[in-house]
């Protein structure tokens, strides 16, 4: 297969969408850079969204690519993939994982029961600038710091301090809840309701926030 079949380029409103074909990563990587170097004038200064399909990309590969693109004057702003490992990597690096419109294949997944039951497992501190989006529930073992955002179509559970922005039931699920050992988010949203945290308490305790008759309420959480 020639390079041009492996690398499809499409113009978008806010940049270029490059879709990679099916091959090993090293082949695709070479083909992509080859294409770019061939048309360097066209690519210079571009914002690039890269659809890598099912490729599993880790931090090393993605940062290497981002730096190589950056050396060619190209900004990598989004990495689209149906591999959850790759999405995870992109989110860690602060790259977008979807274009402004939902991709057709993610829209069809919304009402499948599997999405409802799945949870994204995050075992680290979610720091400022990181935005985690997930179709389903999100469980964080660690803190969510101010400046971080967690957007879930289901519920969000934080085993730690929640101080960033959290949106549960982001696609309208009014039964979604948000729980944290210290629930002090910058902003808390469930479905379409928005609240901010009142004055900080001296001694934090676990709380669960939910919608009651259309209003956001947080109550202390007691085991049993």
């Amino acid at each position: 297969m020639s390079d041009s079949n492996l690398v499809q380029i499409k113009g978008l409103r806010d940049g270029l969408l490059v879709t990679l074909g099916e091959a090993g990563w090293s082949v695709l990587h070479t083909a992509l850079l080859g294409q770019i170097d061939e048309k360097s004038d066209f690519f210079k200064g571009a914002r690039l969204a890269l659809d890598v399909g099912p490729q599993d990309l880790h931090v090393v590969e993605m940062t290497a690519l981002r730096d190589e693109l950056s050396e060619r004057g190209i900004t990598l702003w989004a990495v689209l993939s149906n591999s959850s490992a790759t999405e995870n990597t992109a989110q860690i690096l602060g790259l977008a994982t979807r274009l402004s419109k939902l991709r057709p294949d993610t829209i069809t997944q919304v009402h499948e029961p599997s999405a409802e039951d799945s949870a994204m497992w995050v075992k680290r501190t979610v720091r400022s600038g990181v935005r985690l989006e997930h179709e389903g529930n999100v469980v964080v073992l660690g803190d969510v710091n101010p400046g971080a955002e967690i957007i879930a179509s289901g519920s969000v559970i934080v085993w730690g301090r929640l101080r960033g922005v959290v949106h549960a039931g982001a696609q309208g699920d009014k039964d979604a809840v948000v729980c944290a050992l210290d629930l002090s988010p910058t902003q808390l949203r469930i479905a379409t309701e928005i609240a901010t945290t009142p004055e900080r308490r001296s001694q934090p305790y676990p709380e669960m926030a939910r919608l009651k008759e259309g209003h956001l309420e947080a109550e202390p959480w007691h085991p049993g």
């Binding site: 050396e71 602060g94 720091r127 400022s128 803190d143």
Partner: protein, 266 residues
């Protein structure tokens, strides 16, 4: 010799990265180490001014990268300490004149030449920052006890973690103890609580730091003040020594609690 490459970063500007680089470098050089500082802030160079070496610049880092001079030619020897060198940034170019891989190559060459390479990262998280952290073995994050500076430090720590740069240390600069006591400034505990990385130094606010920076004589060379002692302690901790955190007050209390020599409560 195999140098350790340490990058000093912060995210937010104006928190004291450049001052920290100059003073830690002087501290290491006073211990007899051979140290090379690199100014990573191409286009907005400052480190040469603070070290008082501005008028000695002939070649800069871009000249090295673009092959107009040899590495040795761009290393400016300090006028006080013969084992301290500076590779200045170019003032008339921008961050894109150097790439992360250029920095890695340059530092690999320097590793043979000296014991410590300190890189002064520019503010921000863009190209200049990525250039500066690319070759780092360790990254020191400088922050002030202010909400915005801590927020940016948190972002930087997250980016470093994502790139696998997990050897990190925190410097809390410009701590004003009386403001902390009045509850008008974040305490060391507040900052550590949020950032959760290893603390390598607490530098008290001291107007002499500004005076000495303006004079091009890093405050460590003056020696006496608590800020100067704090920077010396950081350079000793970098070398693996266990140095207790200095008592910023003359009596026990809040400070001793922070420094883990608690007598319990206040």
């Amino acid at each position: 010799m195999t140098a350790k490459v340490v990058t000093i970063a912060s995210g937010k500007g104006g928190v004291g990265k450049t001052t920290a680089v100059a003073n830690i470098a002087v501290g290491l050089a006073q211990d007899g180490r051979k140290v090379v500082c690199i100014d990573g802030d191409i286009g907005l160079r400052n480190l040469d001014v603070i070290m008082g070496l501005e008028n000695r610049i002939v070649y800069d880092i871009v000249d090295v990268v673009e092959g107009r001079c040899r590495l040795r030619q761009a290393m400016i020897r300090d006028k006080r300490l013969p084992e301290l060198f500076l590779i200045p940034a170019a003032q008339t170019r921008d961050k894109n004149a150097v790439s992360p891989s250029d920095m890695v190559r340059l530092c690999d060459e320097l590793r043979q030449e000296c014991e410590w390479v300190l890189i002064d990262s520019p503010a921000g998280i863009e190209r200049g920052f990525r250039n500066s952290i690319a070759p780092a073995d360790k990254v020191l994050i400088v922050t002030n006890p202010e909400v915005s500076a801590v927020r940016d430090a948190d972002r930087v720590i997250g980016l470093l973690e994502a790139e696998g740069k997990t050897d990190q240390g925190l410097i809390i600069n410009r701590l004003n103890l009386s403001m902390v006591k009045r509850g008008d400034m974040l305490s060391v505990d507040d900052v550590l609580d949020l950032l959760a990385i290893e603390l390598v130094g607490i530098v008290p606010e001291d107007e002499n730091v500004i005076v000495s920076s303006n004079r091009g004589t890093p405050i460590v060379l003056d020696g006496k003040s608590k800020a100067s002692q704090a920077f010396i302690n950081i350079s000793q901790r970098l070398q693996g020594q266990h140095v207790p955190f200095i008592d910023l007050e003359d009596h026990d209390g809040l400070w001793s609690r922070l420094t883990k020599f608690a007598k319990g409560g206040e």
